[in-house]
Symmetry: C2
């Protein structure tokens, strides 16, 4: 019987594991891989050697630590979490793709979020070479550059509004029409922004780094636009299916947590991008991972006392 099983090997999960180990808990981290999203760092032509402060070094250290502590992690994928009533109280049985099942007294869900993709050829090769799924993370790097934002919703409008004060020119490629809103009004007040409604991106062109994109209107008329940055802001999908029947989710399916990473169900904690806090910031996810571990420790201490 484990004290805590952590589902997910990104920044939140890794730090949660390290903190559980510090607290001498019997912990197991289950994830297909350690480290989470690989594209924390954006590489741009002419920006070599730029020290972009992120939490990635912290994540690297925690990953090394956990790789060494092999009793505390397995490479597998959790497919189900089943609550089981025992005499001593409720426990959870965590079942994996490889057919393993592990009983545990507490679960920390740190499964993260998946950004919606553009679905253009070679997309995965361009991620981190000009293509980004997070303006909050990478917008500041695009000072005086040509950038595009892809999306029609609030997320895309916010990203464009942030970029417009940084980039030389911003093209907002909106697959749908963009309804009037205070944010759209504000964006319209800048003269370095171009809105292409009911357009979509069909190809990105790169030569080591992204240098242009082809966009198409609804009639199939194409044009090539030079850009060094493409921000895909079509939305995010939290990986919360595993606990959808167990804990409360918000309307966008993020796990609802309080300020100490408690979910609506006793014994289940959540941390990082899968929760309803700010997304895609390694530094925030690491802090949340630490919190979730301390909350799980408190929970177990109370059970035992």
């Amino acid at each position: 019987m484990y004290d805590v099983i952590i589902v997910g090997g990104g920044p939140a999960g890794l730090v949660a594991a390290a903190y559980c180990l510090r607290k001498r808990l019997e912990v197991l981290l289950i994830a297909p891989e350690l480290g989470g999203k690989a594209n924390y760092r954006m590489h741009l032509a002419g920006l070599e050697g730029f020290e972009h402060i992120t939490g990635e070094e912290i994540v690297r250290k925690f990953r090394s630590q956990l790789q060494y502590l092999d009793f505390a992690r397995i490479r597998d994928m959790v497919v189900e979490i089943e609550p089981v009533e025992e005499e001593s109280g409720e426990i959870f049985v965590v079942m994996t793709e490889k057919g393993n099942s592990f009983p545990t007294r507490a679960v920390i869900l740190a499964t993260g979020v998946e950004p919606m993709r553009l679905h253009v050829p070679d997309e995965e090769l361009m991620a981190g070479r000009g293509l980004s799924y997070s303006a909050t993370s990478h917008a500041p790097l695009f000072w005086e550059r040509e950038a595009a934002v892809i999306g029609s919703g609030d997320l895309a409008l916010r990203s464009a509004t942030e970029l417009v004060t940084i980039a030389k020119r911003v093209v907002l490629v909106a697959p749908e029409s963009v309804p009037e809103s205070p944010l759209k009004h504000k964006l319209d007040s800048y003269d370095n922004v171009t809105l292409l409604e009911k357009h979509h991106v069909t190809r990105l062109h790169a030569n080591g780094y992204v240098h242009s994109m082809t966009v198409s209107d609804t009639s199939g008329n194409e044009q090539e636009i030079p850009v060094t940055g493409v921000f895909v802001e079509l939305g995010l999908h939290p990986y919360s299916d595993l606990v959808a029947d167990l804990v409360d989710l918000d309307p966008e399916r993020y796990v609802i947590v309080d300020d100490r990473c408690h979910t609506s169900r006793s014994g289940i904690f959540a941390a990082g991008d899968v929760t309803n806090t700010y997304n895609e910031q390694v530094l925030i996810a690491t802090g949340e991972g630490a919190k979730a571990a301390l909350a799980a420790y408190d929970f177990l201490l109370e059970l035992d006392a």
Copy 2:
């Protein structure tokens, strides 16, 4: 007029400043010094070269960045924050010890917490040389060592309960008597713990590192006890006086924040140890600082839209 004034130069304040700068906000950080508490790292005889993973490297980088960006910080102490109603809405005037006053649209409070001291001679010299104010941070280093916990409350009991599974022997020096509780019951079940009720520590003895303490009972009878670790768990005082009339505090005077660092008052945000989240973990404070900055950015974006 600033967009955001950050009060406090510890991990939460430094990261909040860096994130505000990334978001192109007009930001000023006001603090007597940058870096916050100096004793993140515990040095122990025989533990040289041990890589203790903390957020201190992250803090060092953020401090360097801010030291360089001298327009974004001043060395001063905030003495008052006054809300002022203007035609455009509420702003805040931040007044300092040196007689400066700065108007701002938002405030991030990151003033931290002060641990209660032992009040023994040379106490400040021993901090980080065996003397700690945070078992959560340093307990794991005391594997198979002799340790003491000072305090009578829940904090002290929890610290002792954590240490008892790590240290060879734990002496709990309680200035008051310790009432029965499930936690005390659990602690009593270990045979490597000694409870000295109504005792207090009068001196610590060090030779580079703490090696013993003198404790005294209420009649003044003294004894010297060998210990390499002394955990002062007498309580923490959050520096929340500045906003006590402006925002809601909890019974222990921590600033109440939600999961995105909002206080009860629009335009005032709080992050790190001064808030009602887990204390004294650099990694958590840095995440909270990032969150507070993103929340302030959202707040200003909405004001402007």
